[in-house]
């Protein structure tokens, strides 16, 4: 039986038609605007970390459309931008990551002339050790890391020592710690009387051994949902950020927040413009917008963290201004330390200690 072998010999018409459809397919690829800055802004932010109406208000004021993407932690932000900016104009790293990004050349200088509202910033935050002269960042929110606990299950008294989380059986099986090396090891170092940012291998080893000993009492290392576990009764004490605990305290009067007396982390989130941002002009407009007193007030109202914007703080109600969980008293702040970028070597030592703690 003769077999049929068709020869593929396309006619000119077919080639032209096929080529044209392939070119049409190419137009579906993303395009880059070569003309003046279009009215768009790409904002990379934490979840629930902007006012409810801020982006809509910005669009109304300037006509610029803001597209907000979310990230879960600083490491995700850093990993995403490490190999080159994928197109973000405004990012919100924490202070030690601002330092890291400045050293890695990943952020671009901010033109202060374009941001007159910088005068609204609280005097304490007008300058920063990790960013001298505020060349690359403007402060956004700040806060502490402390202990959230359920009053009825804690046997009375204020849980204001790291001991209950790191060195005792008090909440055995019903406590959670944060899930990342820097913060948990840092707080343990504070409890042992060392610096949060210590790079001394012996001190880190001491912290590692204490945590391995305490691990049998830890139920879970909850990265970001410690407050949910506390609210649902899964744990009775957790290491969490002050704003998260305040949010669940509003719904459940049995919960409380305390800053440990041994001292803790004083963090500061900043807004930066990454290098290679496609819309730097719009980014400056956005930074100026959120530093405005009224807009800052709306943001602080929604997210309930301590704002670095003095003008916005003045507009807030008394509940917010005098809440010791949001604005701790001076003597407590004196014992707290800001996180600094400890260098790649020290990060590696802490990560290995953390792997050993997890595997134990």
């Amino acid at each position: 039986m003769p077999s049929f072998h068709p020869r593929f010999r396309p006619s000119r018409r077919h080639v032209l038609g096929g080529g044209a459809s392939a070119l049409v397919g190419l137009t579906f690829l993303p395009r880059f605007a070569l003309s003046e800055e279009e009215k768009k802004l790409n904002f990379y932010n934490w979840d629930t970390y902007i006012g409810e109406t801020t982006l809509a208000d910005f669009k109304e004021a300037t006509g610029i459309d803001v597209k907000m993407d979310l990230f879960a932690d600083n490491d995700e932000l850093f990993a995403k931008l490490k190999e080159g900016n994928p197109g973000y104009d405004v990012i919100v790293p924490t202070n030690d990551y601002v330092e890291r990004m400045i050293k890695a050349g990943m952020v671009m200088p901010i033109d202060h002339a374009k941001i007159p509202n910088m005068s609204n910033i609280d005097k304490k935050f007008q300058d920063a050790a990790f960013d001298p002269g505020r060349k690359y960042s403007i402060p956004y929110m700040w806060g502490t890391l402390g202990i959230g606990y359920r009053k009825s299950k804690s046997g009375g008294g204020v849980m204001d020592s790291w001991k209950v989380l790191l060195d005792s059986d008090k909440f055995s099986g019903k406590l959670s710690l944060l899930g990342d090396a820097q913060n948990v090891i840092g707080c343990t170092l504070k409890y042992l009387g060392h610096s949060f940012n210590s790079t001394n291998p012996a001190e880190i080893k001491e912290a590692e051994e204490l945590l391995i000993k305490q691990k049998k009492n830890v139920k879970v290392f909850a990265d970001d949902n410690g407050q949910d576990l506390l609210a649902s009764g899964e744990v009775d004490a957790c290491m969490e950020w002050n704003g998260d605990i305040i949010q669940v305290m509003k719904e459940d009067k049995d919960l409380a927040y305390a800053v440990p007396t041994e001292g803790t982390l004083l963090w500061q989130d900043c807004v930066c413009i990454p290098k290679g941002a496609p819309h730097p002009e719009n980014a400056h407009l956005f930074l100026n917008f959120i530093l405005d007193a009224e807009n800052g007030k709306k943001i602080a109202d929604t997210i309930q963290y301590a704002t670095a914007n003095a003008a916005a703080r003045a507009l807030m109600d008394k509940d917010y201004q005098e809440n010791p969980a949001i604005f701790p008293p001076e003597e407590v702040i004196a014992k707290c330390e800001p996180g600094i970028y400890v260098g790649e070597e020290a990060i590696k030592i802490r990560d290995e200690a953390w792997t050993r703690i997890q595997a134990a």
Binding site: R7, K82, K219, V220, E234, Q358
Partner: protein, 295 residues
Amino acid sequence: MESWKDNRQVFWILALPGTFWLLCFFLLPLGIIWLMSFGEKTSITDVAITGTLANYLRAFDPVYLQILWKSIWISVLATALCLLVAYPVAFGICFARPVWKPLLLLLVILPFWINLLIRTYALIAVFRTNGFVNAGLAFLYDLVGLSPLIGPFQPLQLLYNDFAVIAGLVYVYMPFMVLPLYATIERLDRSYLEASLDLGASQSRTFLSVTLPLTMPGVVSGIILVFIPCLGSFLTPDLLGGANAVMIGNVIERQFKAANDWPFGAALSFLLMYATFFALAVRSALSGRKSGMEL
């Protein structure tokens, strides 16, 4: 069947898009990561490929081997449980009435329509202290009135331990085991089973000596499809595992994020891949030597 050499032009036109995709978006990135495993960090963001084996040597540190061993153990347990549950399910679907078969298959595939992350979160809601299982048991407990006898209801600790991780893995990878088994059992020649029963073998003897060997290719495919992803999973232990259930996938994920040590993460990933290749090679060597039962 025609050989592709007879119609080279047609073959290449059809194969080109797929080959291009495979090369560009699969082999090329894999190659870059492989090269990176021989590199080292020169600055915060840069990696230099220096041909160093330091990353692989570091991966043989006892702490990483211990985690790898635990991951293998959890994966073996999860795969075995999956097989134990999936085989009767696949068998049942094959021997059901033809009217029911598509519906039953749909029920098995339906979880795939929902994202893995959401399914794992749903398990949290089921297993936690006030979750559905404990709430249901508490209700029954009170109904039967055991409180006066043995004291108040103690909720079961079903979450944040190894049990939750294995349950999560079995739940998520069940369809991967059921479908290959279903495909193989469906092609089973029923006359073999009838002959065996006619010749006097009991049901269990028939199953062990006739059904199981004949469906072995499906079993092996299912095991491979479940074991390999289980070994590399990091989402399930992260969400369900609590303080003690760190697996090698979690360590690798941390290297690419918190530790910012991509060469080491690449070395760990490729060690996992070499181990998988080794297991597959062993498997094909074994099956090559035995006389396979071709269906």
